[in-house]
Structures are given as structure tokens and as C-alpha cells.
């Protein structure tokens, strides 16, 4: 192939293009097909890394009893604040509990709070949003007003207010996060429905006289799942951070239950911060890594499901 007298300087891209072109010529006719969504998601390196980290942390928490050699709750006053060792991989905390075990078991609760609240709020938001977005009417009006009320508060103020009203417990925290979180998903689902409502296949279904619930949940909902999933991942990340933040204010999950936030709370003590890095660094890193991985997944999902972001 004789190059035309191109005077333009070759760039980094040109080499890349040449490779693609040559490959295309050699594999002519062998068109590959595959799930667009999965392919796009997998081709996003960060999302893949995020997913691997996410899976590792989730699995480790899930199988904590198999992985941890120590009981996360049993103190050992003869071995307090010990640095990491073969016996205690992440060292021990100020009551001599194994931090590795605590981080694993704490992950169970934190992930439960984060993911559980995100899923619950998604469930509520989607159920209401999908129906009211499609059907409209008084239900829509009420749901909209209620969500407006919830969304008129700065998030943290509302959370604190609800903590004050409902009290501190694991269940309450999930309820509170769900209450504060459903509005966003509701509005998103509703907005998606409003736009999907105009799609012609919905009109077609209506012209067949199918019931609104069936059209909304069976036919329209699957097409809104992309942004909903993105939203769930992002709220999971946000809720895990909020749990940590509330623990910092002393208003999170009761201290008797190990959560990442509760473990990290030890870093408030300046002396721990200065001298016992193993008490806060592993758990701080775990929270950050987990939230990071969830955010990467969310980003990957967004790119994979959003047709407007090609490339």
C-alpha cells in the first residue's frame, strides 16, 4: 500500500489505526457479535477493576467466618493495640480484638447498610416512580409532593433529623437511608418513564388495551434499568460514606455492632491516629477502596447503558 504524499505528521493515533485496519483486513467476514452492554462494560478497564475489587471485598465479608481466624467481638486485654503480625494480620484494636476479623465482619454490616438501603430505596422509588410516571394522576401528584418535601432538605440535615426522631439502630439506619434515598431514584425513574412513555412501542401496547401496570412494569421498566442500576451503585457508595460520617458524629450504628464506620471512628483519637496506624488505615483504605470500586462500577454501567456516550 503506497502512502499518498501526506505531509501531515503521524500521530500516536495513526499507529493504532493502522493496526485496526490491518486486523480488519485479515479477519474480513468474521464479524463478531456479543452482548453490547457486557462488551462495553468489560472493555472499560476501570469498571472491570472496580468490579473485581467489589467482588473480592464482598466475598471476603460474606465468607468472613472462613477467612478470619479470630472472633471479631472477643476482646483480648493481654494483646491490645498490637501492630500487624502473622497472628493478627491487621493488628488488634484497643480492646485486643482482631482488626482483620472486624473489618471483614464490619464489611457485612456496612455493605448491608449501603447496598440494602440503596436497593430498598430503589425498590420504593422504582415501584412508585414507574407507575406514577406512566399513569400520572393523583398518585403522581402526591408522590411528587412527598419527594419534594424529602428533597427540600440538605441530605445530612434530614438524616440527622431522622436519626433524632427514630433513634439509633441498624434497622433504623437502613430505614433512614431508604427514606432519604428513595426520592432521587423515584424522580429519575419517573423522568425515564415520562420519556419512555412517548416511545412508540408503548403507544402500540396501549393500542392493544394492555393494562397500565403491565405496560409500566413489564414493558417499560426494563428499559429504565440502566440508569436505575447506576443510581443504585452510586447510592450504595453514598450510603456507605454516610454511615461512616454518622459514626463519626456518634449517631451511626450502635457501637456494639462492628461496621466500617465504627471501626474507623477510632481515628478520632489523635493518639491512635499518630501511633496506631493499623487501627484506622486498613479500614479507612477498605471503605475508600470499596466506595471507589462501587463508583467505578457505576461509571462503567453509566457508560455501558448510556447511548449518548459512545466510544
Amino acid at each position: 500500500m503506497v502512502d499518498a504524499p501526506i505531509t501531515r505528521p503521524r500521530t500516536r493515533r495513526d499507529g493504532q489505526f493502522d493496526r485496526l485496519r490491518d486486523r480488519e483486513t485479515s479477519m474480513q467476514g468474521k464479524a463478531k457479535r456479543g452482548g453490547r452492554f457486557l462488551g462495553k462494560f468489560l472493555s472499560n478497564r476501570l469498571a472491570l477493576v472496580g468490579f473485581v475489587i467489589f467482588a473480592i471485598i464482598c466475598l471476603m465479608s460474606l465468607f468472613a467466618p472462613l477467612l478470619a481466624q479470630h472472633d471479631p467481638m472477643s476482646p483480648n486485654l493481654r494483646a491490645i493495640a498490637q501492630p500487624p503480625s502473622v497472628e493478627h494480620w491487621f493488628g488488634t484494636d484497643k480492646t485486643g480484638r482482631d482488626i482483620f476479623a472486624r473489618v471483614l465482619y464490619g464489611g457485612r454490616v456496612s455493605i448491608l447498610v449501603g447496598l440494602g438501603s440503596a436497593l430498598l430505596s430503589a425498590l420504593i422509588g422504582v415501584i412508585i416512580g414507574v407507575y406514577s410516571g406512566y399513569v400520572g394522576g393523583w398518585l403522581d401528584w402526591i408522590a411528587m409532593r412527598v419527594s419534594e418535601i424529602f428533597m427540600s432538605f440538605p441530605q445530612i440535615i434530614l438524616v440527622l433529623l431522622l436519626v433524632a426522631i427514630l433513634g439509633q439502630s441498624l434497622l433504623n439506619l437502613i430505614v433512614i437511608f431508604t427514606l432519604t434515598g428513595w426520592g432521587g431514584i423515584y424522580r429519575m425513574a419517573r423522568a425515564r418513564m415520562l420519556s419512555i412513555r412517548e416511545e412508540e412501542y408503548v403507544q402500540a401496547l396501549r393500542s392493544f388495551g394492555l393494562g397500565p401496570a403491565r405496560i409500566a412494569y413489564k414493558h417499560m421498566l426494563p428499559n429504565a434499568l440502566g440508569p436505575i442500576m447506576v443510581n443504585i451503585t452510586l447510592s450504595t457508595a453514598a450510603f456507605i460514606l454516610q454511615e461512616a460520617g454518622l459514626s463519626f458524629l456518634g449517631l451511626g450504628v450502635p457501637l456494639s455492632i462492628p461496621t466500617w464506620g465504627n471501626i474507623l471512628n477510632a481515628a478520632q483519637d489523635l493518639r491512635v491516629l499518630e501511633q496506631n496506624w493499623w487501627i484506622w488505615l486498613p479500614v479507612g483504605a477498605t471503605i475508600s477502596l470499596f466506595v471507589l470500586s462501587v463508583n467505578f462500577i457505576g461509571d462503567g454501567l453509566r457508560d455501558a447503558t448510556d447511548p449518548s456516550q459512545q466510544g
Binding site: 467481638m73 472477643s74 476482646p75 486485654l77 493481654r78 491490645i80 484494636d93 484497643k94 480492646t95 485486643g96 480484638r97 433513634g167 439509633q168 456518634g250 450502635p254 457501637l255 456494639s256 471512628n265 477510632a266 478520632q268 483519637d269 489523635l270 493518639r271
Partner: protein, 539 residues
Amino acid sequence: MNKLLTTSIMALVSAQVAGGATAQAINDSELSDPRVRQAIAYAIDMETIAETLFEGAAIPAVGLTSDPANYPDGMNTYSYDPERARELLAEAGWDGSRTLDMVYYYPDELTANFMAVVQAQLADVGIDMNYRLLEGDVGAQIGGVPDDPVNGPAVVEWDILYGARAAIANQEYFNRFAPGQMPTVPTIDAMVPLVESVNATTDPEVQRAGYQEMEGIINEGAYILPLYYQQLYIFESDRINRNGAPYGNEQYNYNSAIETWTVEPNEDGEAVAYTNGAPMQFFEVPWQNLGIWVHSKYVFDTILEADGALTPIGGELAETYEVSEDGLVFTFTLQDGLTWHDGSPITAEDVQWSIEAAAQFPLTHPVLASTLSSIEGADALLAGDADNMSGISIDGNTVTITFEVLDPNVFLSFTQFAPLPSSYFEGADPLQLQQHEFWQMPIGSGPFMIEEARMNEFTTLVPFPDYHRGEALIEQIIALPSADGDANLIRNAAAFRADFGYSKNATDVPSLEEMEHMTVIPANIPYTRMFWINQFPRN
């Protein structure tokens, strides 16, 4: 193997000491069985906890009061003995089916850690326990007395309460053993006359005898489990010089002679000292928490003064004072020429108004309130039947107070009682005294006066030039709003912004001790952490 041997020998020994044969439950609650309570006491290894978890900043307790002079001979220390605990439980027929509900009200991490350790140690002897932090109206959840003083049922909804008694007078520990006062303990007949006896005298010897007997009864029956004595940690930076003035119980008022202290001047040559204990939201009425706020200590002078152990040692605002033979009449004369910070004279009328207001102010410290309500005519005033207390009469600078019943703590109370300038409070409702605008910039009588107050940021104090003991030497005290247990105290200290102050928080102590420029001085205070064991059956 070796350890097992030792513990079993110890168990044999202690089994002989505590003759548990007669002990049994007095009602449907397993916890009314003293053997169960003793088992709990044996199960907790307070020595090790104090040493490790509290890093030495706690002293394992024997009796309710921290003063060994109050203990009778042969107090059982209930030293850690899990084997004995198991035996006792077995004797009492503890079948492990009951999970004890432990509550506490300190939201700090150390307490949670302590709970976790206790939980593990109880589990070790076969007692399941869950713990939780009380929220909301804590007072209502820990108070309330059953109608039936033996069989209950309990008004409170927990089995064990981890709490404390911070007392100014020893009576505070025991007064609730009077019939129908205690939410957790069925009336102990032997205690009733003893409680009366310690309240009916000002004679320390008589009181002590009463305390010893009561400590003995409580110790034997393990009605309340004292855990450890909390010390108070007074800290100082190397810039401060007390010039011989005493360290004392910083929670209350005592003569710290702050006007004689000096501080190393800063770069600008100003003698500025930093402390903690500035108000966070508002200036609290000094009758409530007698000495913990910087203004309660340094802005208001009290009638009498106490030494560091809170023993009355003389007059502060009072020039002279005396109490009658029968202890029912207390007379004192104010010094001449005293003025408030605004320059107006301090009068006996101010004192009278203050006493009457404090008696009506609902949040007045209980010991103080108890003294003031013993004054003749207090009931009528409180009931609204009279405008004044008939028991108070003034003559020039002299105030005479007549008591209806003998109060054991008259002197003590007046070492803590600071009068307020009545002219600012004309027409004020004593119930809502705290809500009065006076407290936005209080006028006091002490060595320092408030210069500037920015809530949540700082409060500055400057010497009161006309102070009756002379103008203070420190030119300015900057008080930052950090309480004990607040991580900010340590950060401020690390940043050289804590020259003197105190903390009760055990985690603060090692941090402060590690700082080269800080000195920590423990002070013994009557402050005992304990388990209240609910011996009434719960529904």
C-alpha cells in the same frame, strides 16, 4: 494447666469466705439472688481492665465511696475469679437462658469498648449479655421506683445500668437507699435507719460510722457493683506557674487562688493562658454544674471557700461565718466594699435573693438544693404561698439563715454557692432563670470577668481590677469550648492551646502525658462508676 490449678485453689478459698448458703432470690428475678450478683462481680476482671483498657487511668473500686475510711473491715474485693463466679451461678441455679440487657449512657468509644470487654468476660462464666446505649430521655429511662418495694415489677426496662455517681457529699451515694427511692434495689431494712442517721448529723464521726455499715451491707449483698473510681486529671503546660496554689477537685469550686498564678508571656509579651471549659452554647447558671465551666469557677465567688478536697476552710465573700450549736442557724457577714464586676456593691439582699432563687431554680445541684430547701419557709416559698423565705434575715452585711431540719452539708453547700447580682433579675421567674438574658454576658464577683464570649469559638476572661484579693496576674484567659472526652482537647493541647484545665476522660490522660510540655496531675474525686443491677422482676 498451671492457671487452672491456681484458679481452682482460689475458688476453694473464696467459697469459704462468702457463706452463700443463706443467699437466695427474694423475688421472681434471678438477679435478686445475691449469688448471681456476686458471680457478676467475680466475673469482671476490673484490675486488668483498668490496667489495659483504661491504661491505668482507673482505680478498681471496692466500695461505693472512694474513701477507704468509709469501708468496714473485711470488705470483699470480688477480685477476678471466674471459677467462683461459675460456682455461684450454679448454686443459684442460673441456667443461662436469660440474656441480660445492659444499658449505658456515655456515648464515647471507651465505654463501648468497656462494654465489649465486660460482655466477653460475662460470657466466659456463662452469662449472656447485650449492651446498648440509652437514647432520648435518659433520665426517664433510668429513674422510676416500683410500687411494690420487694416484688416490683421494675419500672426501668433493663437489667444492668452502667453509670456513675459524681458526688459532692457522701450522702449522695446512700440517700436513695431510703425506702421507696431506688429503681433497682428492693428496700433493705437494715439500710433505712443508717440513711437517716447520716443525714441527721453534722458530726463526721457519726456519719463515718454510718457509711461504714452501709458500705458493708452493700458489699456483702452486692446490691450495687462498684467498678472503678474515676480520677480527675488536672493538666498544666510548662508555661503555667501556680505559685503554690493547690490542685483540687476541678469539678467543684475550691480555692485555687488563680489570682496568684502566672503564665510565661507569649511572643508579644502578653500573659495569656489557654484553658478548656468555655461554654459551648450559653453561660450556664453556676448553681447547676458547680464548677465545671470556666465562668462558674473564676467569674463567680462563693460565700465560703473550700480547699482542694472540698473541706470548708474559710470565707470567700463572707468575712465571718458561724453555725449554732444545734446546727440549725447559720450566720455570715459579707466583706465590706465588695463589688460586682459592673462596680455596683454586693449586698446581703443580693445573697438573699440568690438563695431564694436557687431554691426555686429546678436545676440547682441536688446537694445545694437539699440544703436550701431545709431552710425555714422554703416549702412555703416553693409552694408559692410566700414571697420570701421566713428563715432568712438580713442585717446590714449580715445574713442569718435558720434551718427547719438539720442539714449535714451546710458549709459544703455554701462553699459552692455563688450569689448573683439581683438587680439584673428583677421580675424574673426563677423557674426560667437559665433563659434570662443576663446569661449572655454574666456579671460576676470573682477574680476574672468575662471580656468577650463567642459561643462555640472562645470566651476570654480578664482580671477584675477590684477583686477583693487583688488583681489577678494572668492578663487574659482564653477558654476554648472543649469538654472532656472531646478529641479537640487533645488537639488543642498538642497545638499549645491548653495551659491548664482538667479532664475525666481516661483516653485523654495518656495522650496528654505523652506531650512534653504537659503535666498531668491526678486528683481523687468522689466519682464512682458502677453497675446498678435491677433486682426487680421485669415484665
